[in-house]
């Protein structure tokens, strides 16, 4: 690889010292003069008519400045279906839905006031899962659904908020020609985002009536747009600024508590801080979509995959949020990264009286990949084939087409599969203790990075250093560092000469969101394009200054422009920028706007539904897990995980490894332990004392393997790594359990009790002589 200044180097995070010393400013650290503190009243019913909300006693409490109810916030919002209000109006649709908000002089008073609000409800029958919601005559969550503004206005059955079909070829006909057809039904659970930092916001109104909101979020622009919509304000009266973000994973993609904080600030004229307790965050925020996936896959005796059908039902919870797009994306991914010519994927997202489901690292892909990759192993077992061989035989390669027609510009899937296979099979361990069984399982994954538009502004300061402003929020993954590295490389300056601007809707150019594994790839493209713009402008000045043609100029390390082939003939960025600022032409500012141009091939593909517009470029990976199963308790201990990803080019290998390790950890939680369990209408474990997120002592060694097949459209060949590492962990673990014990699980999480039940059932079958 050519010498690089910044790209390809595993430099530590720019913000690491601030985080490690506790100086990093999170939203709860913000103090403003005269600031009030807010708290929410959450509904104690999953489905009820609000008869009345009496706030008089709360308002009478000394120190209480404002109490809001649903009537104060009548405007509905939502990215795909405008079905949600900031506070429940008329009806509550999930246990924990905010009903009122209080601002007071201090938090204790605000919480005391919440206790004084007298809300009366008339309980309504609830629907707690999609089967109940879709049953004839089921209670309807949104009686006015037909009148809601929607992204796509086709008629839908009651309690359905989205339906999508993606198909190519003729799957049903193709099954008839297959040697083996395997069918299975797989179920996944609500996983809570469980970012370390609960949601919060500080809002303040200036003397012109404009509201500024500081919050941890994935997009200051979505906060601005949604707050404006929820409060019926012009966007120009809302300013959103990102604070340090303590993790998001999709849970801070849409607004959280910003609209309530903003209206409290507007009503009181004082700054207001609203930060959720962990308990309130669990009860009122979001989860990954629970899913039921029916998959049918047909193959030839030699393992060639021929056809696959998928029927997916997502539990969207009480409000649509991103459900339509999650559904569409899940179906687009449901074929898996294989050359399967006949595919038909059908799905729906259903309203239930649960916490709203949302995008969550993987965006529907972990659910369908759990099902699809489990089934690949089941087919391999049925045909007596090696599970890696069957995947290699069918793996997509560079130049192949995805469902919908997009051609793969780069695809390192084969190399990823071989890498995890070789790494996993090279390990030698002493045999397991009696009563424990060991096995290794594999999965192959594909995902997309890209999605929608973004932009960058790069300013050359008077001294020749740079300010890079992209509006991209770093959620903790290290994107500020990576984008600064891209910028530094593009202009051949040290990384510490690049100032990364805090995302602020007043000053930052538009960036859709930190989501969809897109920042390195999409914002990186905007940064390289803005840097190219800067370079061109610097060269124009340098050509004047050195009296030569711009075409003869080159960048030299350290922030200089020189005449190619003439050592010593050069001018520094500082000299150029001083000239531009004070003499000729004006300040040097580079700008770029980027939109991913994708789309569908309608001639070959049947496609109806939400969320499948322009997407992004495809990324590939493979994962392996070795597990040991305790036959007496069913406990699964993961011994080691290998995770290989084609990232195009690792801009910062240390950050890539960190993303892989974090994603695998989250995937292990999904595979084995995390589950927001409902006890009737209410979550039974809305606290970290009962909801288990794996911590460092719970994790095995995680081995990141970085594969680099440069992506032609990516910045320095790079593509995304944010989501992929979470996606294939559950099926790899499931397949490892199958390899160890023979039991083929279909429900997440794979708790000790579920594993033991399956082991017992297997034993009973073999006692009966009915086992295979």
């Amino acid at each position: 690889m050519a010498d690089t200044l910044a790209v390809g180097r595993g430099i530590p995070r720019l913000e690491a010292p601030a985080k490690l010393t506790g100086r990093a400013v999170y939203v709860d650290d913000i103090r403003r003069p005269g600031m009030l503190h807010a708290a929410l009243l959450l509904a104690p019913h999953a489905h009820a008519r609000i008869v009345s909300v009496d706030v008089s006693a709360a308002l009478a409490l000394p120190g209480v400045r404002c109490v809001l109810t649903g009537d104060d916030l009548p405007h509905r919002f939502g990215a795909f279906v405008k079905d949600e209000t900031v506070l429940a109006r008329g009806t509550v649709r999930y246990f924990g839905e905010p009903v009122a908000a209080v601002a007071a002089d201090d938090l204790a008073t605000a919480r005391a006031a919440v206790d004084l609000i007298v809300a009366t409800y008339e309980d309504r029958p609830s629907v707690m899962d999609p089967d109940a919601a879709l049953a004839p005559g089921a209670p309807v969550l949104h009686a006015d659904f037909a009148t809601y503004e929607r992204r796509r206005a086709s008629p839908l059955p009651p309690n359905v908020c989205a339906e999508t079909t993606i198909a190519e070829g003729d799957a049903e006909a193709a099954f008839a020609g297959c040697d083996v057809v395997v069918e299975g039904v797989f179920e996944t659970q609500p996983q809570v985002h469980c970012y370390l930092e609960p949601c919060g916001a500080v809002a303040e109104v200036d003397d012109r009536g404009r509201v500024t909101i500081w919050s941890p979020c994935q997009s200051v622009f979505r906060v601005q747009a949604t707050v404006a919509e929820a409060l019926d304000l012009p966007m120009s009266r809302v300013r959103a600024i990102a604070t340090m973000v303590g993790g998001a994973f999709g849970g801070k993609s849409d607004v959280t508590v910003q609209p309530a904080a903003a209206l409290l600030a507007m009503r009181t004229g004082r700054p207001v801080k609203l930060v959720l307790s962990r308990n309130d965050d669990f009860l009122s925020m979001r989860t990954r979509h629970p899913a039921r996936v029916r998959v049918r896959t047909g193959a030839m005796r030699d393992g060639t995959l021929v056809a696959r059908t998928v029927d997916l039902t997502l539990d969207g919870g009480a409000y649509a949020e991103d459900s339509g797009a999650v559904l569409g994306f899940a179906l687009l991914m449901a074929r898996g990264p294989y050359r399967i010519p006949h595919v038909r994927c059908v799905g729906r997202a259903v309203y239930t009286n649960r916490l709203r489901a949302a995008g969550f690292r993987g965006y529907g892909n972990p659910q369908v990949t759990f099902a699809g990759e489990a089934q690949i192993d089941d087919i391999a077992a049925r045909l007596g084939l090696d599970p890696v061989e069957i995947r290699l035989r069918n793996a997509m390669r560079t130049g192949d087409r995805w469902v919908g027609g997009q051609e793969l510009a780069s695809c390192g899937l084969t190399e990823c599969l071989e890498a995890v296979r070789d790494a996993a099979r090279a390990v030698r361990r002493p045999p397991p203790a009696p009563g424990r069984r060991r096995g290794t399982g594999f999965s192959a994954i594909a995902h997309i990075c890209g999605i929608l538009s973004t932009s960058a502004v790069l300013k050359v300061l008077e001294d020749g250093t740079l300010t890079l402003n992209t509006g991209a929020v770093d959620l903790g993954e290290g994107s500020d560092t990576v984008l600064a590295q891209i910028c530094a490389e593009a202009l051949q300056v040290p990384v510490d000469r690049v100032n990364f601007a805090v995302p602020d809707t007043d000053g930052s150019p538009y960036n859709w969101s930190t989501g969809g594994s897109r920042v390195t790839y999409m914002v990186g493209r905007a940064v390289t394009a803005a840097a190219a713009d800067v370079r061109e402008k610097l060269f124009a000045h340098a050509a004047d200054m050195m009296e030569c043609a711009a075409i003869d100029l080159e960048l030299r390390p350290g922030g200089k422009v020189g005449i190619a082939g003439v050592p010593g003939r050069e001018v520094g960025f500082r000299a150029i920028s001083m000239r531009a600022h004070w003499a000729v032409g004006g300040p040097v500012i580079g700008t770029a706007s980027v939109m991913f141009e994708g789309g569908f091939d309608p001639k070959r593909t049947e496609m109806t539904g939400d969320g499948i517009g322009r997407l992004g470029t495809y990324v590939f990976g493979a994962q392996a897990a070795e597990v040991e199963v305790d036959e007496a308790t069913g406990e699964v201990r993961v011994l080691e995980v290998w995770s290989a990803h084609d990232v195009g080019r690792a801009i910062n290998p240390l950050a890539v490894a960190g993303q892989i390790q974090g994603g695998v950890a989250q995937g292990l939680g999904y595979a084995l332990m995390e589950d927001l369990v409902y006890d009737g209408e209410r979550p039974a474990n809305p606290s970290l004392a009962d909801y288990k997120v794996p911590g460092a002592p719970d994790l095995p060694p995680i081995r990141p393997i970085i594969v680099e097949h440069p992506e032609p459209t990516g910045p320095f060949g790079a593509k995304g790594i944010g989501e992929p590492p979470v996606i294939g962990v559950a099926p790899a673990v499931r397949n490892a359990i199958a390899a160890a014990t023979g039991v083929r699980l279909a429900v997440l999480p794979m708790t000790p009790e579920r594993v033991l039940d399956a082991l017992s059932a297997q034993e009973e079958r073999s006692d009966d002589g009915t086992g295979d």
Partner: protein, 264 residues
Amino acid sequence: MYSFDYHKPASLSDAAALLGKAEEGKLMAGGQTLIPTLKQRLARPTDLIDLGAIAELKGIKEEGGALVIGAMARHADVAASDVVKRMIPGLADLADNIGDAQVRNRGTIGGSIANSDPAADYPSAIVALNATVHTVKRTIAADAFFTGMFETALEEGEIITAIRFPRAEKAAYAKFRNPASRYAVVGAFVARTGGSVRVAITGAAPSVFRWTEAEAALSANWSAAAIDGLSVKADGLNADIHASADYRANLVKVMTKRAVLAAG
């Protein structure tokens, strides 16, 4: 959390006086259950009386051939105590696996048994080792101490001062822990003391209980294999989001066997 008055008396008599005066007083040992309860606003005491400064409640020592642990001994103290490790290493091991490091550095043995959480670890050791609970008023035998879920023989305001454990020949604890809280889904403490075997099970039922069938089997044959022929009925066992009663019944047997193996 609601506001309250905080006291930290230096003697048992001062603590008793404060408790007597308080409108609704609560004694606090390590606070590992009480503080989360207050944070959840599930309790609203007027006064909190912290027992942490009372010297009489501290210390771990050997006394007349028995192990005496002060009520305010932290789990980390018990886990690290040379006296405990020498006399009843299985008890040190139990303490070393309670909760996490933060809990072990704050939580106390007296607080744990006074709370009588059905999933706490210590009750199984108290019962299996046939310990005696000493209070400001009297001594209470292990079998009489735990009376139900979050219930004990303690009277209102009665403060535990120490727990006295007879030395055991063999003793060990095995638990299947809740991955989140690290409480026992099921924990089994087995002990052989002077030819008598006691098996105490925590986590499985509303309160710690002795598994008498296992005690008889182990008395006849001290080995894990002695448990193989026994069966545990799920009736009356706890069932919650963490485990069904059937699963707990299986764990009672599995953890008892593992405790016997660990005890050697």
